[in-house]
């Protein structure tokens, strides 16, 4: 649509010899000049030299430190991680020395949360179950980041047919529910016979990566056409070099946010699978297994089910809260000065 269209009902000023010489008013207009001391003249575009330099991460950290949401979730996560690494610091009783004498007994000194039907200490099992759940969560997230990150980055950066293939593949996996897919994988003979933390991780990674792939692809597409990428290519950097050095680091923020939130959901997925008897083998202590074991007794001894469930909820909630806090702190829009 050309601007010439609009010239129909007005004579174009261009080309015609009408000069725009400015307007003079018939009124008297006072010429006011502010005293110089009121607005001292600064040098043009002066460089401010005060203050410490701030990278994206340093600035995010400065914002995060003041956020209660972040402080609470970070403390809880640190606690959970410490419990997972050193469960013996928190529970002196062995979770596996169970006697049927204590079956379904209530709390008593040394056993603050009572006993399971098998006579095991509920508190000790809850503490020792942390490791399996957290291991699955962390390793699944790492696996998902590697696979989804690579797929999304390649698809987004190179585009074209590669993007078409990878994006459709992502869609196919995205259409399959995480739990349903993992159930099917875990029922394959190879997985069923070798149940361990790692089979659960593999099953969850297989169906968990599309989300990260999508986020990465979006972030990479947003950044690949920036001027700084063009500039680095003009400096002689190879396209792949530009992807690794410029595009990926700038795409990290949304990926980290989604990863921390999905870490929580992977822990839930592990618990669900274990609950269904398809996750961790019965010998491995995990919250999911404990919840599953406690299920028949939920009416006469609900505490046995509630404690591992509470531990699960708090852990998942902390990761999701952390993700939310990070989302605010790493928001690129909030960073423009």
């Amino acid at each position: 649509m050309s601007e010439n269209l609009s010239n129909k009902n007005e004579p174009s000023n261009l080309g015609s010899k009408s000069l725009r010489l400015g307007k003079t008013s018939t009124r008297v207009i006072e010429h006011y000049v502010a005293p110089l001391e009121e607005t001292p003249l600064a040098a043009v575009d002066k460089v401010e030299e005060g203050g410490a330099p701030l990278s994206l991460w340093a600035e995010a950290w400065r914002n995060l430190r003041k956020q209660p949401l972040f402080i609470i979730s970070a403390l809880l996560i640190v606690l959970v991680v410490v419990v997972a690494i050193f469960p013996q610091w928190f529970a002196s009783v062995s979770p596996t020395s169970c006697t049927l004498n204590d079956s379904a007994e209530g709390p008593r000194p040394g056993h603050p949360l009572g006993f399971t039907l098998q006579g095991c200490d509920v508190y000790a099992r809850m503490i020792h179950g942390t490791r399996a759940s957290l291991t699955v969560g962390i390793f699944t997230t790492i696996g998902v980041l590697i696979i989804g990150g690579i797929m999304g980055a390649l698809a987004g950066y190179y585009g074209g047919w590669l993007d078409n293939i990878l994006a459709r593949l992502t869609d196919v996996f995205f259409a399959l529910p995480l739990i349903l897919g993992a159930i099917i994988i875990n029922q394959l003979p190879l997985f069923r016979d070798n149940k361990s933390v790692w089979t659960v991780v593999i099953a969850l990674v297989t169906f968990g990566w599309p989300q990260i792939a999508r986020i990465t692809r979006g972030a990479v597409i947003e950044n690949r056409s920036s001027d700084y990428v063009t500039a680095s290519k003009a400096l002689g950097l190879s396209p792949f070099g530009a992807l690794v050095k410029h595009v990926l680091p700038n795409s990290l923020a949304p990926i980290i946010v989604v990863a921390s939130i999905s870490l929580g959901t992977f822990i839930v997925a592990e618990a669900t699978l274990s609950f269904l008897g398809l996750g961790l083998p019965p010998g491995v202590m995990s919250w999911g297994n404990d919840i599953s074991d406690a299920q028949p007794q939920v009416r006469n001894n609900p505490a046995v089910l509630l404690w591992p469930a509470a531990a699960l909820s708090v852990t998942v909630l902390s990761f999701i809260m952390l993700g939310d806090a990070l989302r605010d702190a790493l928001d690129p829009k909030a960073r423009k000065r």
Binding site: M1, S2, E3, L5, S6, N7, K8, N9, E10, S12, N13, L14, G15, R20, L21, G22, K23, T24, S25, T26, R27, V28, I29, E30, H31, Y32, V33, A34, L36, E38, T39, L41, A42, V44, D45, V47, E48, E49, P53, L54, S55, L56, S226, D227, Y228, T230, A231, S232, K233, A234, L235, G236, L237, H246, P249, N250, P332, R335, K336, R337
Partner: protein
């Protein structure tokens, strides 16, 4: 105080509207506006005062962040939610509306105070037809009536939209930028307001369209006797369109008065700076440091002092060192370094059902650039000038034609040869916020080219980065800073330092100063000019702004619709333009005809 320029001073009221003419329509007294931000209170405007008489055009001029828009927005009660009027008075037509109720302000908006916003692209709702959006305004002010359709068409036609009845049924995306701005003007004036606030109404438009629209706005507001409060960063434009100028600096009014008088006789040092560096008023090419110093004595204090003379000398010393350590050829000024022959670029536009149509972005363009000189490519948006730059940088393959750099065909370069070519031709881009990686600190940014080309070791690279920062007059303490901590002009200086790191022969500036404030723009142009003189650089300068061309270029190529329409030395183009299009471009430079 300007506030005094009221009734008793008005000796010759206009015959058109006697009586009401001598009372100020809008009077702002000692206005202070405060924003509550995370970092505490920010006093965006302090002690501002201005008066708009009925039918008068007043322009507020200032750089970004000077508080000019904030002042105007306060008058119509549209301050952002964290901003508030913390002092002073806003008096509209005798009524104090400083702290008027929301209801009262809404009553005033539209039929008493109209507004034309800045960005025509984002200020129309894309899901509603243009006509609906005009009708909305009429309805809100109770002016729709029974024949609202005809009224809408009338209003649009007044704003200069042809076939208004048909256009009213179209959506914003079917309009060009200029037509959208006309629609916004139609909306702003639909209810016959007595005051129209126009916030940078044409900054986003091409210069010829800008001229047409402002002419039309002028005519309409004169007919309707509407007062206009024009907000602009362009001193030339302001002086051409307004009777009165208000110059703002750091939230304060530093000077105000009759437009032409301020232009001819600026009294506040800030205004003097502005007038001196307004590109549209400049009439000659920038002089290099030495030449300028010689001239400076004669021309007294009127030259823009960007750098202290001591700094200039220091820079020269650095430059000499740079020449010694570099691998540079004995620079033979005047020989052709970049030659572009019959360059054509065809883009395939995706049509419906897999069909594609060809779009010739660049059509048979030829020109050559001599070493040590500046060739400017001028054109409006869509003229293909940036595509030429991309091809000259070998970032885009031409469809036809050849690009010879130092006698070597660029298109066919591969591997090592292309890598070496990259070292000798560097770009500087338009957007200072986009061209530096936000994750890299300044040191890494400038070091990157050296690292890519494996030049020197960590220690020598650091020395080089320091030298480069010094060359672009940035303190070396900026090395550890990140781009978001610097202003636009400072980032552009960093981008220049990065481009210089490899001692290139040619720098391709794609609208390198278009996004900068006038004073900063002048500073960067001066810097580029000094560097050219010292390092014998060749510039290919892509711009839409002929005024900038005048300051920096030796030769000009004018492009229109992908074709080269005129090519000559800068003086020839400015003094004796051959083509109608070039003449149009020249006469559209705001303030060009003010003859100061």
């Amino acid at each position: 105080m300007i506030g005094l320029s009221g009734s008793n001073m008005n000796k010759s009221p206009r015959p058109a509207a006697p009586g009401i003419d001598d009372v100020p329509l809008l009077e702002i007294r000692d206005l202070a506006i405060t924003f509550d931000t995370q970092g505490g209170e920010v006093h965006a405007v302090r002690n501002a005062h201005l008066t708009v008489m009925p039918g008068e055009t007043v322009a507020i001029v200032g750089e970004s962040g000077s508080g000019k828009s904030t002042t105007a927005l306060a008058a119509i009660g549209l301050l952002p939610s964290n901003g508030r009027v913390s002092g002073g008075q806003i008096i509209f037509d005798g009524e104090d509306i400083t702290h008027a109720s929301e209801k009262r302000i809404i009553e005033l908006r539209g039929n008493s105070i109209g507004m034309v916003p800045q960005d025509p692209m984002s200020n129309l709702n894309p899901v509603w037809k243009i006509g609906f959006q005009v009708k909305e305004t009429l309805k809100a002010n109770g002016l729709a009536g029974s024949n609202s359709k005809e009224r809408v068409a009338e209003v649009l036609a007044e704003a200069g939209l042809p076939d208004a009845a048909v256009r009213a049924k179209q959506y914003p995306h079917e309009f060009s930028g200029g037509m959208r701005q006309r629609a916004l003007i139609a909306i702003g004036l639909a209810c016959r307001p007595r005051l129209l606030i126009a916030d940078e109404p044409t900054s986003a438009l091409d210069v010829t369209v800008q001229g047409q629209i402002l002419d039309h706005l002028d005519r309409m507001t004169t007919e309707l006797n509407t007062a206009v409060l024009l907000i602009t960063h362009d001193l030339g434009l302001a002086a051409e369109r307004a009777e009165k100028l208000v110059v703002m600096y750091k939230g304060q009014v530093v000077e105000s008065g009759p437009a032409l008088e301020i232009l001819r006789n600026p009294r506040h040092p800030y205004t003097q700076r502005l007038v001196n560096s307004a590109p549209s008023l400049a009439s000659k090419r920038l002089q290099s440091g030495k030449a300028r110093e010689a001239l400076a004595a004669a021309a007294a204090a009127t030259t823009v002092e960007v750098r202290e003379p001591a700094d200039v000398r220091k820079m020269e010393a650095v430059a000499h060192e740079g020449e010694l350590s570099s691998h540079k050829k004995p620079a033979g000024r005047g020989e052709t370094i970049l030659e572009i022959k019959n360059l054509t670029k065809v883009f395939k536009l995706r049509g419906s059902l897999g069909k594609s149509t060809d779009f010739k972005a660049v059509d048979n363009v030829s020109f050559s650039v001599k070493r040590g000189t500046t060739m400017a490519i001028v054109g409006e948006s869509g003229s293909g000038k940036s595509t030429v730059a991309q091809m000259a940088l070998s970032l885009l393959a031409p469809t036809e034609g050849s690009i010879l750099f130092d006698g070597v065909e660029v298109n066919t370069l591969k591997g090592k040869a292309l890598f070496d070519f990259r070292r000798r031709v560097q770009p500087i881009f338009q957007d200072p916020y986009g061209s530096l990686d936000p994750m890299f600190n300044i040191y890494r940014t400038i070091e990157e080219p050296l690292k890519i080309h494996k030049i020197g070791n960590a220690k020598s690279r650091e020395k080089k980065v320091r030298e480069l920062l010094d060359q672009v007059s940035m303190p070396s303490s900026t090395m550890q800073r990140f781009p978001n901590e610097l202003s636009g002009g400072q980032r552009q200086r960093i981008a220049i330092a990065r481009a210089l790191a490899l001692n290139p022969d040619v720098i391709i500036c794609d609208e390198a100063v278009s996004a900068l404030d006038v004073l900063v723009q002048a500073q960067v142009l001066n810097l580029l000019n000094e560097l050219q003189e010292e390092l014998g650089l060749t510039y290919l300068f892509i711009t839409h702004d002929l005024a900038v061309v005048r300051q920096i270029a030796d030769d000009v190529s004018v492009m229109q619709h992908g074709r080269l329409v005129e090519q000559a030395t800068t003086d020839e183009v400015f003094n004796n333009p051959q083509q109608q299009y070039t003449q149009d471009l020249l006469s559209a430079i705001p303030g060009a005809q003010l003859l100061i």
